[in-house]
Structure formats: C-alpha cells, structure tokens
C-alpha cells in the first residue's frame, strides 16, 4: 500500500520511537513526585518544552502540553471565553470541526459567535475580519493552513488587526507546524500537534502568550502551571519534541522537495485528465496538499477504487461522511454540491517517493476513466 494521507496522520519516525522508549521503561516516574524517579522525567519534560518553544520562537513558559490538537483548540476557545465570561467570537467558516463545534457550543451557551466567509480559494480576507470586529469581540480564530484544501491563511495580517483592536487571536497550526514558518508576533494562542509531524498520538501543545488570561478546562493537581491538570504524558511529549527537532531541521529542504512533487501532481492531473480541477489556491498552499475534483464521479468511489490499486487517499465527499453532508470547507468556497462530491485529497509526506507519485499518476487517470464509463454523465 502507498500512503497519500499524511494530512490525516503520520507514521512515527524511528528516531522518535527510540527517544521515547526509556520513558516507557526505566524512566517512568511521575514528574510531580519528589524522589529520584521523577528527576529524569521532570528534566525531560522541561527540555521538551524548551525545544518546542524554540521551534516557534516562544518562551518555554508559554507552552502548555495537551493530549491533542482538538484539546488545544477547545482550550483556546473555551478557556478564553470562560475567562472573559461574555462577548463576541469570530471564527472562520473553514476551521476544523473541533474549532467549529467548540464555537457552536459556546454559541449555545451565551456567547455571540460569528463565522467568517472565505473566497473561492478558501482564504479569509483580513478586511472581512476588520469589518466584523465589534466592541465586545473577545477572540478571533483562523487556522494557519486548512486541513482539506491546504490554503495558507494571512494570519499575520489578521493578527495585526486583532492586536490593533486589543482582541485575542488564536490560530490552529496543526497542518502547518514544522512544515512552513510561523511568525507568532501577533498571535496570542497557537495550536500545534505531534501526530501530524511523525510524532506519537496523544501529545500536542497550546502556545499561550505571556499575559493572556485563560481558564483551564481540566482541574486537578495543578500541572502545566495550573492550566492543564493531568499527569504529563512524558513519553509522548518527549517524542513530540524529538519529532519537532527533526522536522524543523529539515523543513526548508523538505518543503522544496514536496512542493515539486505537489506541483507535478496538480499539473499532470489538471492538464491531462478531462474535467479535473484544483480545489484551493495554486501557490498559497502548503507543500504537501493536493485537493482535486473530477466531474461526473463521486469521491468515495474514487477512494475505494484507488485503495484496490494499493493507494490510500482521503475524501470529504458527502457520501463518505457519517451524516451524508458535503464538506463544509468546499461549500464555504462556493462549490456546488455536485462539484464537491467528486473531490479527493492527496497529501504527501516525508516517506513519499517520486516513484510513488508516478504510480499514482498512472493509476488515478485509469480509475477516473473506469468510473466515468459506469457514470451516466461522461
């Protein structure tokens, strides 16, 4: 099987596994204990925090470890909302479900929630943010890179507007961290995750800028400066830090390599397969994301047929969703339902080889043709 679903999750790098093993074996102590068993884990925990802080040019005290990007995003939205107690929250309409659903929940619980539109490429216009800011706006949340169509959002410009208006700005960087540079100058809260960068599942972080007032979601023993009680998942956090080190040190080269492969796939599919179109922006796009649509055939069928050829991709087509609803991202971009149905996402990663890309480019046009032969529309 060839894996083209790195945006969903990544395999754990062997060097990362190696770094974690001692903390699953002899170095098992609870970092909060007083005896010698805890000193190694406590040190490892703080070292990991420094590595991750450095990767985004933050201070170690500004990093709070969590269990997932979903938790970090929930913490950012609800934590700020609970600290402010009331107010208006602006969220982009193409956020990951964990941001959207946290925002909708806040909307049902006394907060005023508004969704920002996007253009046909899936990009938020900073002017739309400025236009919607009100006296009682407490938080703006716009993701750095969209998980479905890979578009890079103008978060620096949006951050500036928020700063000028004295409003907290949160960005979900689960898809961009260690893949493209992030400038946190005007960002108050940033979500990053381990499982998207060849680290283990179960570790993520929320950057909370010094001075930002936030309420914790988990109350207990007061770990993470009282912001996230729970015994720290040291093995996963150590792995997260190792994964960060590796990814940051190879970022520029890897970005260049993947951009070439990405553009080769986009070019070949959109030029050589009839009625194939790119979803999202051609250049304002993360290096590992390709999202294309094929007229007259359906995404779930494409996915299963590719799977039978040994290729794994993903789709947000309505037929593949538990509620049979089309992708909220493609809908927000203005795609008609029949256009959204035929969309698939191909995401590349560290293990992607040119030969794998060539195999995909050989098989995918055949699959499209086969399904179009079955379809009443050609």
């Amino acid at each position: 099987m060839i894996y083209f679903d790195y945006a969903a999750t990544t395999p754990v790098d062997k060097r990362v596994i190696k770094s974690m093993i001692p903390f699953l074996n002899e170095k098992f102590g609870n970092p909060s204990s007083m005896h010698s068993f805890s000193s190694d884990t406590k040190k490892a925990l703080e070292k990991s925090r420094s590595i991750i802080a450095k990767a985004i040019k933050a201070n170690p005290e500004e990093i709070v470890f969590t269990s997932s990007a979903t938790e970090s995003n929930n913490m950012a939205l609800k934590g700020i909302a609970f600290a402010k107690k009331s107010g208006h929250i602006l969220v982009s309409s193409i956020e990951h479900d964990c941001v959207l659903n946290a925002a909708k929940w806040l909307g049902k619980n006394g907060f005023e929630v508004e969704f920002l539109p996007v253009d046909k490429y899936g990009i938020v216009d900073p002017k739309e943010v400025e236009k919607r800011i009100k006296k009682n706006t407490i938080l703006v949340s716009v993701m750095h890179v969209n998980n479905e169509v890979g578009t890079i959002q103008p978060i620096e410009a949006i951050g500036k507007i928020c700063k000028k208006n004295n409003i907290y700005f949160h960005s979900d960087a689960a898809q961009s961290f260690s893949k493209t540079p992030i400038n946190i100058t005007n960002i108050d809260l940033l979500t990053i995750s381990s499982q998207k960068i060849y680290g283990p599942k179960g570790a993520a972080a929320l950057f909370i800028k010094d001075g930002v007032k936030i309420e914790p979601l988990l109350h207990g023993g007061g770990q993470e400066r009282g912001l996230r009680s729970s015994t720290e998942n040291v093995p996963a956090i150590v792995g997260f830090a190792k994964a960060t080190e590796i990814a940051i040190s190879t970022m520029d080269k890897e970005q260049e390599r993947l951009t070439k492969l990405r553009d080769k796939i986009i070019e070949k599919l959109t030029k050589e397969v009839p009625n194939c179109y790119l979803n999202g922006h051609k250049t304002k796009r993360i290096s590992n994301n390709i999202n294309v649509r094929f007229s007259h055939i359906e995404g779930e069928a494409i996915l299963f047929m590719l799977n039978s050829y040994g290729i794994a991709v993903s789709t947000a087509s309505a037929c593949s969703s538990p509620k049979l609803e089309p992708s909220h991202v493609l809908s927000a971009m203005g795609l008609k339902q029949e256009e959204a149905h035929g969309s698939i996402r191909i995401s590349l990663g560290r293990m992607t080889k040119e030969s794998e890309v060539n195999y995909l480019l050989k098989v995918l046009p055949e699959v499209v043709k086969k399904l179009r032969d079955i379809s009443p529309h050609k």
């Binding site: 359906e298 069928a301 047929m305 037929c319």
Partner: protein, 145 residues
C-alpha cells in the same frame, strides 16, 4: 465505510454496466446534487427482461446495488422483477451499511421507472400500484429517502 466483500466485489467489477442503445424502457432516478444518480435500461421480449444495463454516478454502495439489481432482474418476467425488494438487494450483497440503505431503494426505483417507461411507450396498461410508485418517485425532493 465498512463494506462487505460482496459489495466491494460488485463495485470493483460491476456487472451489466453501460447503455442499451435501442432500449425498450429507461428509468432515471436520483440526481447529481444528491450524490447518486442511476439510469436503468431494459430490453423486453415476451414480457421477459431479456437484457438490462445500468449507468450510475455515485458511491461504492450505489454502484454495487445497481450491479446486483441487474443480476437479480435479468431473465425475469416483468411482474417478478417488480417484486424484487430492498431486502433482496441487501441480502444479495450480504449486507449494506445502514447509512447506505437508500442506495438499494434507489436501484429498485430505477428498475420500476424503467418498466413504467416501457409500459407508457408501448401504451400498455399500468397497474395502480406502479402508477402510485411512479408519482412518489418523481415527487421526491429529499436526497436520502
């Protein structure tokens, strides 16, 4: 999506797909916006479905149910073909995920519409039941039955 082996078998090698150019009846149901659309073509001789083909836009389940429906209906008298139920289609596929049951309904509707079209074209008497079913199908607005 958890599909049975039989569903995946029909999906990867569908039976009887394509057009019948000089068809006697054509049933068209569903639409592109809903995510599944089926065309069923029939060729009738001596009240028997001599040939049947389908064209389907849709997911794995939509293609597999179309394929299995054509197998079930082929060589049957029109009356027997109209007796094929949603459960017959599901059973022939071992099982279908509950969320995909509407695909089996769509396949049966497509066949019933093909027969309706054949009767209308040939000015043959149409039973009250078939007439009612036809009216239901063309009035249907929601995507997922």
């Amino acid at each position: 999506m958890n599909y049975s082996k039989e569903v995946l078998k029909h999906f990867s090698k569908p039976h009887n797909y394509g057009k019948i150019d000089n068809y006697d009846g054509l049933g068209r149901v569903g639409n592109m916006a809903c995510g599944d659309e089926m065309f069923v073509y029939i060729k009738v001789k001596d009240n028997i479905i001599k040939d049947i083909k389908f064209e389907t836009f849709g997911c794995v389940a939509a293609i597999a149910t179309s394929s299995v429906l054509t197998d079930l209906a082929k060589k049957k008298t029109i009356e027997d073909a109209l007796k094929i139920t949603r459960q017959d289609v599901v059973d022939a596929l071992e099982t279908l995920p509950p969320i995909k049951i509407h695909c089996s309904v769509l396949a049966i509707d497509a066949l019933s519409e093909a027969v309706y079209n054949y009767y209308t074209k040939n000015k043959l008497p149409i039973s009250k039941e078939l007439e009612e079913k036809h009216n239901q199908i063309i009035k249907r607005e929601s995507c997922h039955l």
